[in-house]
Amino acid sequence: MKYYLKTKFKIEYLLFLSVCFLIIRCNDTSEAYKPGQIQKINPESESYLKHEEIAVSPPPFSDGVFPCNDCHAFRKPNPVRRKLEWHEDITDIFNHDSENRWCLDCHDLIKRDSLRLASGKLLDFKESHKLCGQCHGDKLRDWKVGVHGRRTGEWNGKKEYYLCVSCHNPHSPKFKPIKPEAPPFREDEEIK
């Protein structure tokens, strides 16, 4: 019950504190995930691939947002679904079944630096593909064998995988249209 208690004063005070802390943390370069740094994950034993480990890209956090606890340690957890007073960049675009889901369907209420499976099991951000796979099992299966998603490296050896969230914004996952490269100059060699 104690998490449910809140007073307006407390909330504002905590907000102020967390903003201060965020500003301090922004200059700190010792984040857990750096862009371009390769993390190793262990695919489950049912993996179709021969390789013990596959390398995946690090989670694509926006600047200064991780670890979440830098701010959330000073906020009282509130499990009630509501309009947030923070994270507008996310709430504005959120359309991942937004009618039925919100933050705490994937993020843990207490352990802010973890994701949370429906079973209650906590998950590191670098294993977010397992979270996506709860609903999109067919895609996860194809991703593991190298058929869904993009990968680079060797066709017969070491590959780098990209996490689901490297291509799909988890809060707005549909692939966005992009600008095409220039069309070819000549007409004479197209197949008709």
């Binding site: 993009r150 060797e154 007409e187 197209e190 197949i191």
Partner: protein, 299 residues
């Protein structure tokens, strides 16, 4: 006294004369080709020593021309490897990233322009229909509502018509399935272009131009080494990369992961998984070209 006509001598003379004429014609038409290059044999009949010498000469020539240290290899096909390709039609958004990654990797001429990959835009309502496809689409954003995209490049046919018609055997299929061209042996007759049902072969109508700062100096003799005017070229699945274990350039660049590549003889490869588990098709199946390039629906 009238001398008897030495028929065989005269014939020999005429033959030599015409050879000389054809030779000098060819030489004048093909830009800076040395006599040594002109007399070079078909790649497949060269000895190891001859190949090494030719490759060394080429490296020197390209290094001088582009001001960058060039490497040319003749890495042969590996045992137990047959390359296959699969492209996910349900994912391709028609962004043409693959087209230009290919141009860069394979040193295609920028002007006159050569593209190994043509991305065809087709109407969803019509299905795969080459006659009504458009390669010049250019909207602000892709994919466009109501359309899908079919990138076409060399299908590395098991039964290639292009190699069949070549009158001088300048193009052939390698043991790993890649159809290659010996640019030095190609006479530029373009029979192969007429024979290929996929428009996959391209002719250098002019002296190819590649900006020196964009040229790729890591090359293969049968692939991405710079070409000359008057020869035919085509996609080789990035022979330089794939024979070194790497994915082709188009596979790596594709932002939606529509392009898949691997060893058809390895039952655990991505490509075999696709063939076993997805809906797969080949283009112009009725022609019996038996492509190693498959299209599939990943969803």
């Amino acid at each position: 006294m009238k001398k008897p006509v030495n028929y065989s001598g005269r014939r020999k003379f005429l033959k030599n004369l015409s050879l000389f004429a054809v030779g000098s014609l060819a030489l004048s038409g093909c830009g800076p080709v040395t006599m040594k290059e002109f007399l070079q044999k078909n790649f497949r009949t060269l000895s190891k020593k001859e190949k090494d010498e030719i490759i060394k000469d080429l490296e020197k020539k390209y290094t001088a021309k582009y001001g960058k240290e060039f490497h040319v290899t003749d890495e042969p096909a590996a045992d137990g490897v047959e390359f296959g390709y699969a492209l996910d039609l349900s994912r391709c958004v028609g962004c043409r990233r693959c087209v230009y990654a290919c141009v860069k990797e394979n040193n295609q001429s920028r002007d006159p322009q050569i593209h190994y990959i043509q991305v065809l835009q087709m109407e969803k309502e019509k299905g795969i229909d080459f006659a009504h496809s458009d390669v010049h689409y250019n909207p602000e954003l892709v994919p466009e509502e109501g359309y899908f995209y079919v990138p076409v490049q060399c299908q590395q046919c098991r039964n290639p018509q292009c190699t069949e018609v070549c009158p001088v055997k300048a193009t052939w299929q390698e043991p790993d399935g890649i159809v290659v061209v010996d640019y030095n042996w190609c006479i530029g007759c373009r029979y192969c272009m007429a024979a290929c049902p996929y428009g996959a072969r391209h002719f250098n109508w002019g002296e190819p131009t590649i900006p020196a700062d964009e040229v790729n100096p890591e090359t293969h003799y049968l692939g991405n080494r710079p070409r000359m005017k008057g020869v035919v070229e085509k996609c080789t699945f990035c022979i330089k990369r794939v024979r070194n274990g790497k994915y082709p350039a188009c596979v790596e660049i594709c932002p939606v992961g529509a392009r898949k590549f691997g060893n058809l003889l390895d039952p655990e490869s991505e490509i075999r998984y696709i063939l076993a588990n997805k809906r797969v098709l080949v283009l112009k199946q009725e022609l019996n070209t038996q492509p190693r390039f498959y299209y599939f629906f990943g969803v």
